[in-house]
């Protein structure tokens, strides 16, 4: 999902930075608040953030004959919300921009918006919509994680389409072109990511349910039902 350095006109770099910076500032503020309120939240952040580090470094082959990587942001969005997740993503993306030439400093804002903000927001919205319903808890985690992944790539496609409208068909046909590259490649990866992160969430439920109660991640009845089930 990285837009490469130099591949976005500076005006658009600026636009996405303007979107990204307030979100990051708010994320840092929330992060401090959450960690001050409950010290046991830090290990949970270590697990959810750790999976963003791991999954976003795995470039996997897909059905389109090109490679892409999962984002791993869904689990963090569920536990900590999208804004704190965007701070973790910004750290990962900065590492990749500085040392791996994946993305770059000028396009970092755009990459933070896609991977750190819109993706987690989409996952978080799905999770909030299903949290209180009868939908299975792990299915909710699966859907939130898979959609956070997909929406990251939808956003990258949109960012590129806005900057490079096609001569025939404008932004719309550019968007379809980029979706063909990014989104189609991503579908199998998003499904595998969703299943893996749902499994990780199961282990968190088994090992440390009290932190999930205190942070009110899911209703207690749902978490207890899942614990008794396994």
């Amino acid at each position: 999902m990285h837009i490469m350095e130099g591949f976005l006109p500076w005006q658009w770099c600026l636009v996405w930075w303007i979107f990204a910076i307030p979100c990051l500032v708010y994320g840092v503020y929330l992060l401090k608040k959450v960690l001050d309120a409950d010290r046991e939240a830090l290990p949970l952040l270590g697990v959810t953030g750790g999976f963003i580090f791991i999954l976003s470094s795995l470039k996997l082959p897909s059905v389109t004959g090109s490679c892409s990587h999962p984002t791993g942001t869904g689990l963090s969005a569920i536990c900590f919300g999208p804004w704190i997740t965007s701070v973790v993503c910004a750290i990962v993306l900065l590492f990749q921009a500085l040392f791996l030439a994946h993305g770059g400093l000028s396009v970092l804002g755009a990459n933070i918006v896609s991977m750190g903000i819109v993706g987690p927001l989409a996952g978080y919205a799905v999770y909030r919509a299903l949290r209180e319903t009868r939908v299975n808890m792990f299915l909710t985690v699966f859907l939130a994680c898979a959609l956070a992944d997909m929406f990251t790539y939808f956003t990258t496609s949109l960012e590129l389409a806005l900057a490079y409208p096609a001569q025939v068909g404008g932004v719309g046909s550019s968007f379809i072109l980029f979706m063909g590259i990014f989104a189609v490649t991503q579908v199998p990866l998003a499904i595998v990511e969703g299943v893996v992160l749902a499994l990780v969430f199961k282990y968190i439920v088994q090992l440390k349910p009290d932190i999930l109660f205190r942070m009110n991640v899911f209703p207690e009845a749902k978490i207890n039902a899942a614990r008794n089930d396994t």
Binding site: E5, G6, F7, G50, F53, I54, S66, L98, V195
Partner: protein
């Protein structure tokens, strides 16, 4: 009881299907290069902008890993950092759980 490991089984099945899909598609697409979708996207940008991809220069000068070896080392480092964090916390939680049981 039968449901105990259903998520584990699902995860293994999903990964196996993913691998099988890769083996199948790579066998029917002989010319697939498996470059990153970032690169494929960059080629399309160059095409839309009407300039060759290698003529697009960084806005902010950027260090590029000199070889694929170095790049893979740095990616492995990134994954290792994540792996250490995850392993540390799960170990900490398992220890906490054992500690509360024995008292």
């Amino acid at each position: 009881m039968g449901y105990k490991y259903r998520l584990e089984i699902l995860a293994v099945v999903a990964v196996l299907i993913f691998c099988a899909l890769f083996l199948y598609t790579s066998s029917i697409m002989g010319n697939a290069k498996y470059t990153g979708s970032d690169m494929v996207g960059a080629e399309k940008i160059a095409w839309l902008a009407g300039v060759p991809a290698d003529e697009i220069v960084p806005l902010i000068p950027q260090w590029v890993p000199p070889s694929g070896e170095i790049e893979s080392a740095l990616f492995a480092l990134q994954a290792a950092i994540g792996g250490i964090m995850v392993g540390l916390v799960f170990g900490y939680w398992i220890g906490q759980k054992k500690g509360t049981k024995s008292t």
